[in-house]
Symmetry: C2
Subunit: 294 residues, 2 copies
Amino acid sequence: MMLLLALAAIAAPVRGSAAPAPPPSPAATAYEAVTGDWRPIPDDELLVMRLAGGRTVTIRLAAWAAPLHVAQIRRLAAAHWWDAASVYRVQENWVAQWGDASEEKPLPAGVTPQVDPEFEITRFAPAVLMARGDPHARASGITADAWPVASDGAGHAWLPHCYAMVGVARDADPRSGSGAELFTPIGQSARRLDRNYTVVGRIIDGMANLSALARSDAPMGVYADPAQRTPIEWVRLASELPAAERPRFAYRAADNPRFAAAVRRRENPPPPTIGSGAIDVCEMPLEIRRLDAR
Amino acid sequence: MMLLLALAAIAAPVRGSAAPAPPPSPAATAYEAVTGDWRPIPDDELLVMRLAGGRTVTIRLAAWAAPLHVAQIRRLAAAHWWDAASVYRVQENWVAQWGDASEEKPLPAGVTPQVDPEFEITRFAPAVLMARGDPHARASGITADAWPVASDGAGHAWLPHCYAMVGVARDADPRSGSGAELFTPIGQSARRLDRNYTVVGRIIDGMANLSALARSDAPMGVYADPAQRTPIEWVRLASELPAAERPRFAYRAADNPRFAAAVRRRENPPPPTIGSGAIDVCEMPLEIRRLDAR
């Protein structure tokens, strides 16, 4: 479970021999999830990307935050548009980016080359507020549905570009994103992209299949040699996969005292660990559980 | 140049075809370094780690911040103690860690299994202050010698665990670190380790040789199978390498108006980019230039 791992990681980095903590029994503490805290993710919110070698990356889509872009992404998946696309950019401590490197592949019917930017969300309504803001946001928190959100305290709110969030790549024109080219931060969170790029989701499984890819030395991390790209075999919504092949995930909901207690514990770790009384919203583990057999 | 790349990255993530910006002529702007801003790093502050396959990672040591631990690290390198050691732990979005996975290799003469923790520094004296604090520090900034520093505003100061900083692994006992086992954050900065672990340096070259290593699925990211480890061929201080093989690097000093202007520009990017007026100290690129032919 991610939280357990994360708590173990507080004692970590450790020597090689350190034994991992045993898994807790459900609700053994005030900050662990109970069965009812786990909510299944609808099949049409799961975007499954199969890379060469059978490696899979699963993205949870945030249709509530970027409805225009997520609608385009669903159409692109339904049209099998990403089949035979690639991860063509991996820039050290910045982003991994995928789509059609040729930029010549026509978009399918119903997908426009540009849609209105969805850089911000209409409402800042976290279920749990972080103790303090951060350099990029006056306030931040986690929504009931386990999305990180940030606000400038002056009417603007957005999904922050935390590690593993998925953003829409674009050209200099803020309107130039379609959803066909996507990226995820693979190092220090790319917060200076907040409010400048549309965030459409978060990678909830298989992130290491992108974060551990070979970096490109070329300008901006775009592989100079096409042979360096990682081929994408296919991308589908889970709802379009045969029932037997559908991945099933649940997220840990944040609208309960157990999640709030988990945030407070992260902000104020038990002695002898010294804490600051706060963490960055991008540091809060958002737990995911696999419900299928795999 | 890292800053140029970083500024390019503000326009990024972009479509595959985006042309990188041309390199600027020196001092073309108020925020670029001039020749005198580049200061060579002494050979005995450069720790060179050669991994299998000829991949090299170069660490700049912070003797000023952790003199006891850096003295031990210099003795370990002089004794060739890390030769045939390994990178034995790579935990997704957490750390890569290296040293003697067996934990049975005796330490060389003059190296003790424990030294007093050096979790904090004696003085918070940045040459440039960041515009705002962050969830982990009331104030932060960059020293004249280009080290990130943080403070709680109440007399405690430390080197933050930013991406690519190098920390001393230990057991639960805060006194249990020797410097023989080291780690670096490979994802979101590991700031909750601040003031709990001793920071001894920063990876200034070859970080991708650690950040792109295959992640371990085992508890806490320690490879379950020794065959998964990345062998370390040798570790040496540059001062102990034959002159012809010595890497030579310079850092961009921060005690000048050009670096201050670069920080302010990061905090307040030019339109149409929307900024928050601040960045996290871990987001400020600390530029390094290679001085040798390689």
